[in-house]
Amino acid sequence: MSETMRQQIVISGVGGQGVLFATRLLAEAAIDRGLPVFTSETHGMAQRGGTVVSHLKVGPFASPLIRPGQADGLICLKAENIPAHGPFLHPGGWTVVNRASGGVGSLDADRIACDLGDPRAVNLVVLGFALAAPGDAGKPLLFCSLAEVQRVLDRRLAGRDSALKRSRAALEAGANAA
């Protein structure tokens, strides 16, 4: 991947779903590649179950925010956010969404996480799916690979074996659903 690669991704959900954690995994994967990265996060009161959105900009950017109509992709942990955050996408942008009813780019991550016995791992299930899902002409959607994010996860959860095992399982279950 070239030095001038640019990717802008919006990650959306509700407080408590782990939007920040998923964003951070991708941002660290960018740093591991030597790419400049910006993220912007929701903190404070909205984290108490309110609508939460993260912006991730990989490449030579100055501003931490993505403008509407500029995002390459939307990773949506809560389908109800699509009307609010879908307009971040540019016309050719892709969406990965946690939705029980199916459709292009969707998976039932709530069910997958519950089946794993880890209902709070929805964020990693969706992230695993986004990392493995094929995009246009079979090219990956994201700037980094599943293996790279797994390495970030290994590093972040080093020494916490059971948490790491559960997180890896969730990421893989999402990837397998793609």
Binding site: I31, E41, T42, H43, R48, G49, T51, A62, P64, A84
Partner: protein
Amino acid sequence: MTRKLMMGNEAMALGLVENGVGLATGYPGTPASEILAAVAKSRSLRTDPLHVQWAVNEKVAFEIAYAGAQAGLRTAVSMKQVGLNVASDSLMSAAYMGTVGGFVVISADDPGPHSSQTEQDSRLMAVMAKIPVLDPDSPAAARRMTAMAYTLSEAFRIPVMLRPTTRVCHSRQDVAVGTAVETGREPAFKRDPLRWAATPKFRFKLHGELEEKLARIAAWTETAPVRHNPRAGGRRAVVASGVAAAHAREALEALNLWDALPFYQVLQPFPLHADFIAHLIADYDEILVLEETVGVIEMQIGDLHRTQGKWTGSVPRVGELLPEAIVGQIAAFAGRSVDVPQLPAVAGRRPTLCPGCPHRASFFAIRKAAPKGIYTSDIGCYTLGLNLGAVDTVLCMGAAISQAAGFYQAYRHAAKPPPVVATIGDSTFFHAGVPALIDAVVQQVRFVLVILDNRTTAMTGNQPTPATGIGVGGEALAVVEIEPIVKGCGVGFCRTADPYDVKSFIKLIKEALAYARETGPAVVIARHPCVLEEARRTGRPPGPPPVVTDACDGCGFCVERFECPALVMNADKTRVTIDPILCVGCNVCIQVCPKGAIEKAKDR
């Protein structure tokens, strides 16, 4: 060099530590909350002493850090913008007296507002105090500006404000990791009562000195505005500061105007450099000024016939300056007509108290015990008691108690005065509640104060309180409990109970109301730990969700009055189900259901 993903607040903390801060204090408040804990974490970069502490409020935090700077150390205090209001008494005076060691005041603003009562601009507080202020555009810039702030502070012996906004504090960026430093500084307080304890006559002299300092700072090259695109020409220029400058840079590129419009970034919005003002007036007919949230730069340029900004009304005065708005502003300024996509106004999901939150049980009990009450409340997670109809007023830190007193006095001679029930969190009680409670005792205000004691400062990310006996770095400290303070204030009725036991808790509040009606202030301490903090501390998985039986007829009482996100009404409104992902098994809803239709899960 190794790079690390760093939040703006962590980058500022690193900047403080690598520039030799010897004493750092603060009070948590979004978006500034993570700075101080990050200073404590970076302590390993230092071989010499570094004292880091949360203080009981911003004024106390400010004064501790300021005294350290009087003693010659480099010090810092961090807070959010409304916290600076609390510390403003100290700030105004410290500006006159000046410093010896470098003193950085970090006051984080929250345009939007995302998690604040106001969109006030701390830079205006710097103008009022007459101290310089720096305005970073990114985490990396915020880190560099801490170094700049210390140099400036020591060159002119003046407190320096660093004013990040939410988009700096809560952005993350790849930042080079820090290296170890040793300052070799020793405290050396020099007695100088004419300065450090100046009487009004000498304050006049200090004020004169301060004005001279400001004039020299307005000519100091190290903080001068930066011209980013020297190739651009013409009689129109864009001037921006803070994160608006970062947005403007991308907007100029996106609009292909980089080589068309001269673009200046102001690093030090006050005092604005005198040469810069002269240059703008001499060389440009029209100047677009992009800054948050008030026109601090624009008012110093001082020619509203030339500027387009907050004062002229060309740039919106309310809300955050989002990048799409800045694209629109710059395009219009350049005479371009472009279609800038906007986000639709979609009502998002409102925040709620967490499933299992003990505050929910307290609010439910308060409404049951005093259904016709006036409910004053305060700043914290429990502001969300709004959703349960148990919060009528929220003004600012500590106001629940004084407002309760005001409502009592207002209704005192009414035929049927309503009961007044105030709610305040443990940390907020320590912060600003105690003086108000003393006043209420003296005035014999007949109200009930419920102190929602969840043993933490939850809203801002679970910082310790004086009652936890834990410091910012996890170190053991002395404990100050709430009960002896309440009793020491002279309150005759002070009882502590667990709100999870809803029935007993309702009874206790009724007792408190009866006492208040006859005698004076009654205090109930609702003590149950924050579920988030408890889960983190113990690592225990949540308990099994209770079971909804066939006795549920979908009356909706629990959904409306208890408002737990885990209680979900089915589509045809005939039955409530419990979301197993959200439920933490607190079982409080069992006591709430009027039909007895929720039962404890059978042991498996």
